[in-house]
Symmetry: C2
Subunit: 522 residues, 2 copies
Amino acid sequence: MRKLLLSASLLLSLSALAQEEKVDQEIINKIIKEGTTNSQVMNIAFHLTDVSGPRLTNSPGYYRAADYAIAEMKKWGVSKAGLDAWGEFGQGWQLKKSYVAMTAPYYKPILAYPKTWTQSTKGLQKAEVVVINVKDSTELLQYKGKLAGKVVLVNRTDEYKHSFKPDATRYTEDELQKMAAYQIPTQPQGPRQGGNPNMARFGAAQRLNTLIKELITSEGAAAFLTASTASHDGTIFVQNPAGNRVDFVNGKPSVLEIAVAYEDLKTINRLVNMGTPVSMELDVQSEFTGKDVKGYNVIGEIKGTDPKLKDEVVMIGAHLDSWHGATGATDNAAGCAVMLEVMRIFKALNLQPKRTIRIALWSGEEQGLLGSRGWIKNYVGDRVTKEIKPEQGKISAYYNIDNGTGKIRGVYLEGNAAVQPIFSKWLEPFKEMGASTLTLQNTGGTDHISFNELGIPGFQFIQDEIEYDTRTHHTTMDSYDHLVADDLKQMAVIVASFVYNTAMRDGLLPRKEMPKPVQTQR
Amino acid sequence: MRKLLLSASLLLSLSALAQEEKVDQEIINKIIKEGTTNSQVMNIAFHLTDVSGPRLTNSPGYYRAADYAIAEMKKWGVSKAGLDAWGEFGQGWQLKKSYVAMTAPYYKPILAYPKTWTQSTKGLQKAEVVVINVKDSTELLQYKGKLAGKVVLVNRTDEYKHSFKPDATRYTEDELQKMAAYQIPTQPQGPRQGGNPNMARFGAAQRLNTLIKELITSEGAAAFLTASTASHDGTIFVQNPAGNRVDFVNGKPSVLEIAVAYEDLKTINRLVNMGTPVSMELDVQSEFTGKDVKGYNVIGEIKGTDPKLKDEVVMIGAHLDSWHGATGATDNAAGCAVMLEVMRIFKALNLQPKRTIRIALWSGEEQGLLGSRGWIKNYVGDRVTKEIKPEQGKISAYYNIDNGTGKIRGVYLEGNAAVQPIFSKWLEPFKEMGASTLTLQNTGGTDHISFNELGIPGFQFIQDEIEYDTRTHHTTMDSYDHLVADDLKQMAVIVASFVYNTAMRDGLLPRKEMPKPVQTQR
């Protein structure tokens, strides 16, 4: 059990809880065996990635993956497997052709990937490059009337950084111990006194960027090229145009914005800066997809067997939607494949959980947790007013996976200290597999938040990074080969065990206080 | 001075040599100042890469770079700056368009780069994919009559390896000490007894690959896709088609062979293997370039000032040609930029070397040291018979750079123990800059070999790896941004100092014995 700085009486009661917590080692062993020797997790991942293609919300790829998941669940005997509308999203979008090259001063293919929900070119289009090099909005005026039909980029002064650190990493014991030692701050941290000068500078740069983007749009530029600092060595970071100002709700594509390789962008930038005219040719064709603008999650259930407890639920989930530059293998076919594999393991072993187990594969996560928040609104309560429905009291816990392909090293407790002794007991069988760390830290950014916002204990697991932040997250390299098979298998057996334990224990998992209603800004 | 296991008497005489060796610290300081504060090395590198484009031998890009180098040298006051024909090469080749995509089961841009001296497609071509999956030539027969107009790839069973080591590295002190401790084997190592089973397996695989390639060619496949294990994360390793069987001498393009990203190849491979038809579209246009099939090196000289020594020469060089996937920044614009900068430093400081200094920027290195061997044949002697011309006795040393962008850590002595105390003295001013290691080891693969083959001391420097073998060597990422400016500056001042010392010392550098004539195989 991990050392937590809690009061002696609380420690005592927590310790008592841990004593009571029962783990059925025989069942756990069966889960480990099924998830290790009969694993289907890589086969599922293959269908969600290579076979389905990119899974941008409401794109055909998303529904290929959803249909596959539903069909597989039905095959395994999972009940209620199907789509579940969560609200209005808008149209999907998909690429039909992408060709970008420099044609003068010499021919050079450009590594490029158009951003989502942007315009097509008018067939194969030729264009000169203009580099916008301004310090403020006054200087920007000189480009007025000069951008129509041009390929535009904004002058860059940063430099390539060579990778003296590995792309792929796993947590060290030292790092895990630091996470375990984390304490919840006793005083809530108020806003800092005085403005942050970095934030002020950042704000000014953001405003200038907005003006530049507006000028590019109003002038009718052929395309706007950008390169994330995360784009290097041929990996391109690509999602929607900056500022999230894409209009997928009303089907209005924004100006063609293309993520290009950092090295390519800088080459073009340097050539133009030295006075060499640079010409390009582009043929980018894309389309808004689908007529039904509602968004749909994928749902499935394994009905609880205990007459008194079967209306209570253990939920697991991961977001099924991805960005479009690759096939969202680590973000987040990995999580979906693991959660589907958990359902398969339950059915393959014919486990009889007392409580109902529900899987949810969310859509619209990448546009702001839309699928999970929509589902919560429909079934659990209002995240602003905190008005709740009866279901809120029946969901014991929600387990989410969305940290890539790395194996589980423990659990983020999200400040819920009361579950610490319980999870500590549940992790015991998995110490040998590298999972033994519990931290009171939060981890943000994904669908467990939607549950915590309504007072339901939502958890993410601590996972080894592998290449998540360096190579795969929202990039053109987030594809099947970047998955680690052994790690996905480990994840599935640990999650299956947690789910089983949650479904079988005497009570619901302890909860934190319900958060206060959100003070809306207007 | 480093510890070498040599006889006591030799040690004594080497030590005496070191005593005699004079270094003009005032000149060295001037070189360091000029090469550090007024460096032009990155500007030169920019013109050789971004401005010139890929520099495949005899392609327009090669001559853009050559013309630039000649013009710059003339501007600096370097004499005899110009092209020098070394023999017959054949035509250059350049890409005019490259577009490759998967169109079914869904649209996916494919990261691809056509190999040199291959065919174009007939405009935009659509094709189905066939995966050849055979163990031997008998199994190969089943594909006869089935490859015409298809995109072909050979089944792959290897797996992606995540990078748990950094792409970029520098030599550790420990590694340098091991290099310094290297001893020349006292017994020449004879051929191993018994066959090597790995070599036998490799030979069989090679023969099968040749048969596959012949079938693809004779059937008239649309394209042959390959992926090097060095192609990953968006970096593509690309040179000429395997087996070097390209015919650049007679202007006959080989079947279209395209290097693609490993991840893309494997996705297509897996889809076909599961029975999903995969369609692609390709538009690859390229051309053989130039009518003059002779190859040309770039030469320049700074005439010696000592009446007795001015006919003796110190040579420096690097190969100017590159592969075509990027702009050959680390292979080898880096070496050329450094060597040109050395010439610039000499002229900027108006140094008066006793001996003549000659720079040679070679062509055809990537096709087998063709430019340097051709030059040697024209001016120095025959590498097979070892018949020599008078020039052989006048070249004191040849210094080459072709190990990427990493700074100099020392010198490979190529078994020439007698220069060890001399170079040891010459390196003294650069210990602080990280260069102090001398190793008797050879380093192969580049143009200093052409000199050593005729008994002239040819040297390569020990350089930090940075990303050479992991990321840039013969890849689409070998571009300007992958250069390390401070390292190139360090290299230039060290090479300039070595050149100055070689030009000023009392005698020529000690030589090893002339190698024996080559026993030709037929």
